[in-house]
C-alpha cells in the first residue's frame, strides 16, 4: 500500500526545484498533521471532495456538489454548507443525466431559498423549516428527472448544514457517515437496497450480504416510482468530528476500518479525499468513486 502512495505522489515532486521553502521542524509538522485541533474562535466549515471514474468503467455517472459559506447575521456568523452525492444508476439510460439533474435541481431549489440570506442586504425571514426546504428540493428533483430523463434513476444523499445542525435527505445507497473524534465511524443513513433489506430482515448475514449477487438493486431511487419518500432527519454535527458523504464506489470496496485508517493517516481533508479515492481504485475500482469530507471548526 505504501509503495502505491509513493507512486501516486511521485509526479508532483519536480516542482521543488524552483520553489523556495523554509523547512518546517518536526513539531510544526506534527501540529499541522494533527489538523483541526487548531481551534477557531468562530465556527466555520471546511470541506474537500474527491472523485474518480474508477478502473473498470468509461463513464462517470456520479455527481457531487460542495458549497461552503458563512452567513453573517444578527445571531453571529452561522456556518452554512450544502453537500450532495448522487450516483446515477448504471444499466439505466442516462445515469449521469439523472445524477446531474438531481444535484442541480436540489441545490438550485435550496440555494434559491437561501439567496436572500447569502446575497441580499435585507433578508426576509424564512417561512419554512430546514426539513421542509430539503424535502421540497428532493420533490422538485424527482419531477425534473421524470420529465427530463424518464426511466433513469439516481441515489441522492444531501446534507444541509446550518450552524451545528445537519439536515440530511437520503434516497438509495450512497451513504453519509459520521467519523467521531474518538475514532469511531458510523453510517447515519440506511441503504434503500434489496441486499440491506434482506440483511435487516435477517434473511442473509452481513457476510452473505457482502457477496450477494444483486447488491446493486435499489428499492427506492430518485426518478423512479410514484410518491417517493426520502429519509429526512436532523442531527447535530459531532464535536471535533467529520461528516463523510460517499457513493458505493467507496464504501462498497473499502471497509469502514480501512476508511478510518486512511482518513486518520492523512494530513488534511483534501489529501484524505485523494487517499480514499486511491484506496478504492487500489481495491480494483469497480465503480465510480465519489467522496466529500466536511469538518466543523470551532
Amino acid at each position: 500500500m505504501l509503495d502505491f502512495f509513493r507512486k501516486l505522489f511521485k509526479k508532483p515532486a519536480p516542482r521543488q526545484d524552483t520553489a523556495t521553502t523554509a523547512p518546517l521542524d518536526e513539531q510544526q509538522i506534527q501540529s499541522i498533521i494533527s489538523g483541526p485541533s487548531a481551534r477557531s474562535d468562530i465556527q466555520q466549515l471546511i470541506s474537500a471532495c474527491g472523485q474518480s471514474v474508477g478502473k473498470q468503467r468509461d463513464l462517470n455517472e456520479d455527481s457531487i456538489l460542495a458549497i461552503t459559506a458563512t452567513l453573517a447575521g444578527n445571531s453571529g456568523n452561522t456556518p452554512f454548507g450544502l453537500y450532495i452525492v448522487a450516483d446515477g444508476m448504471g444499466g439505466h439510460q442516462f445515469g449521469e443525466v439523472a445524477s446531474n439533474t438531481a444535484i442541480r435541481t436540489v441545490a438550485g431549489t435550496i440555494m434559491r431559498k437561501f439567496h436572500p440570506y447569502l446575497f441580499n442586504l435585507k433578508p426576509e425571514p424564512l417561512d419554512e423549516s430546514l426539513q421542509e426546504i430539503i424535502l421540497s428540493a428532493v420533490g422538485e428533483a424527482q419531477k425534473t428527472i421524470q420529465r427530463e430523463a424518464p426511466g433513469s434513476g439516481t441515489t441522492l444523499t444531501a446534507a444541509l448544514i446550518l450552524g451545528q445542525q445537519v439536515t440530511i435527505a437520503h434516497v438509495g445507497d450512497s451513504r453519509a457517515y459520521m467519523i467521531y473524534a474518538d475514532g469511531r465511524i458510523e453510517p447515519v443513513t440506511r441503504d434503500h437496497s434489496l441486499v440491506k433489506r434482506l440483511e435487516e430482515l435477517g434473511h442473509i448475514s452481513p457476510d452473505e450480504a457482502a457477496n450477494y449477487p444483486h447488491r446493486n438493486v435499489l428499492y427506492r431511487a430518485l426518478g423512479q416510482g410514484e410518491g417517493l419518500e426520502p429519509d429526512i432527519f436532523t442531527i447535530p454535527f459531532p464535536s471535533a468530528g467529520t461528516l463523510m458523504l460517499c457513493s458505493d464506489g467507496l464504501w462498497g470496496v473499502v471497509s469502514e476500518q480501512d476508511v478510518l485508517h486512511t482518513f486518520r493517516e492523512s494530513p488534511n481533508l483534501q489529501r484524505a479525499c485523494q487517499n480514499l479515492v486511491a484506496s478504492a481504485n487500489a481495491a480494483g475500482g469497480p465503480d465510480n468513486i465519489s467522496v466529500v469530507l466536511i469538518q466543523l471548526l470551532g
Binding site: S75, G163, Q164, Q165, T167, G202, D231, T234, I235
Partner: protein
Amino acid sequence: MDDGNNSTPRRQLQAGTTLSQRYLIQEVIGVGGMGSVYRARDLHFPNVVKLVAVKEMINLAPDPLVRQTIVQNFEREANLLATLNHPSIPRIYDYFSQDDRSYLVLEFIHGKDLEAIITDTDGFLPEEQVLAWGIELCDVLAYIHSHSPDPIIFRDMKPSNVMINHNGDVILVDFGIAKTFQTGVKGTMIGTEGYSPPEQYRGDATPLADIYALGATLHHALTRRDPRLEPPFSFAERPIRKMNPAVSIELETVIATALQYNVEERFPSAADMKDALVSAGRKTGVLSHLPTSNLQASAVKPLWTFTCEDEIRGTPAIHQGTLFIGSYDNNLYALNAADGKFLWKYPTDGGIVSRPGVYEGNVYFGSEDRRLHVVGARSGKVVWTYYTDGPIRSSPRVAEGHVFIGSDDHHLHAVNLNTGRAAWKFETSSSVRSTPFVANELVYVGNESGDFYTIDFRGEMKWRFQAKRAITSSPIVAGQAVYFGSMDSTLYALDARNGWILWRFRLGKSSIVSPAVAENIVITGAADGFIYAIETQSARELWRFRTEHQVSGSPVIYKDSVYCGSVDGQIYCLEYRSGRLRWKYATKGPITGSPLVYDDIVYIGSTDHQVYALLA
C-alpha cells in the same frame, strides 16, 4: 437454584424487624431456595411510604469454599443488576450482609407473578395479553443480550420469574443465575427443567437459550400446561392449538419457532422474535386492540385528595416532602405530600394558575394580583414580593441567582433572588404567559403575539422568531433544539443557538401545551384532544392518543410513562414509546394543569377544586 435446601424451613424474619437500621420488614412475599423475599419499608423516607423488596440469602453451607462461592454469586447478582437500567428489570437500591445472611434491596413491584396469574385465571389468558407480554419480554431479553462487554443470559426464564405490575407491564425478576456470556466459554447447566433448551443441559447457554425458555413460558401461559410436568423438549408434540384452539395459527408458529430443538432453527435474536410477534399480532389484528391490564381497574385509587375553595388550574411542586400548589381561590397551599394534610396557606389577591418554584427554602410564585410572591417553604411567611404591571400567569424559573418570570405587562422580568429587585426587564410586544427556559446561558420565552425571544443574562436579545399566533406554551431545550407549541397549530423545533427552524409538525388544532422530551421523543398535546409523540430527528409521528376533550395541560415523562391531563377531566398514563393506555383516572372537573410525578406518585390538581395523589 438448589432445591435440596428447600426442605429445611429456616427462621424467617418477623414483621417489625428492622434491617441495617433502615428497612422495616412488613411481610414475607416469597420463598426461594436460599431464603425469603420480604416487603419492607425504607425508613430513610419518613414522609412517604417507600416500599422495597428485600431478598434474603441464608448461607448455611459448612464448606468454606462453597460459602464463599454462594456469597460471590449473591454479590454478582447485585453487581449485575447495578449495571442494568431497563423498565422491565427491577432497580437495585442496596446490598449488605449480616451474620449468615446477605440481603439485596430491590424495587418493590406492585403486582403478581405470571405463574400465579396462570393458576388464578379461569380458562385461558387472552391471546393479545400473552402476545403483549411476549413482546415486552423480547424487549428486555434484547436489552440484556446486547449488554456490553458481554451479553447477559438470563438462563431462568419461566412464569414465576416474570412479574406483571399494576400497569400490566412485565418485570423480569431473579437474576440469581443470570450470567454474562463469553463466546466459546461453556457454562454449567442451571435453569429450570422443562423451560430450558437442550443445549443448556450440555452446559451451553447462549442468548438463544433464553429465546427457547421464553417460547416455553408463552406456551405455558397459552396452554396452562406446565412443562415441568411433561417430558423435556416435547413441545413439538403438544402444539398450542391442540389444547387452546382459540390461539391464532400465526402466534402458534412464532412460539414453535422459538422452541426449535436446533439452535439454528430458532429466531437469531430476541429482536427478531419480537418482530415476528408484532407481525403475527398485526396479521391477526389483535395488536390493534391490546387490552389494558386487568389488574389496573382497581389499582387506580387516590392515595389522598385535598380540597381547595376554588378551581385548581396550575401545577404542583414538591420540596422535602411538602407539596405546593396554587388555586384560583387566591391561596398557595402547602400540603404534606405523604398524606395530603394541610400545612399552611398563603393568601394573595388574585388567582394562581402557574407552577410554583422552590429554591433554597423559599417558594416563588406569581399571582393574577400582578405580584411575584416569595414565601418561606416551611413557615409560609412572606420573604419579599415583587410588583409587575400586569397579572402573572407565567411560572418562575430560578437560575444564576435570579428568578425569571413573564407578566401580562408585556415584560420578561429578571429579579435578583437576594434583593428582590429587578436586574432588568425585557420588553416584548405582548403578554408573556409562557414560562421561560434557561439553557446555554440564554433565556428562551414566547409571548401572546407569537414572538419567541432568546435573551442573554444581561437582558439583551440574541435572536427572535415569529410564529403565526400566540406562544403560550413554555419552551424546552433538549440536545441542540428548542421545542414549543403555538396557537398556530404547530409544534416547532428550532436550532437553540440561532433560531433556524429545523422542522415544524402540524397539530390538528392550536396548542398551549408545553412539550416534554425524553430520549428521541417529544410529547405534546393540542386542542384537538390528542396527545402526540414525535421523533426528534425525523419529525415523524410515532403515535397519537385521543382523549375526550382538549389537551391544555402539559405532559410529564416519568420512567417509561407519559402522564397528561385533559379537559375531559381525566389524567392519563400512557406507555411512552407506544402510546398504549396504562391507566386513566377521572376527576370531577376539567384538568388544565400538569401533573407532577415524584417517587412513583402522581400529583394533579383539577378544576373540581381537588388535588389528587395517585400511584404512578
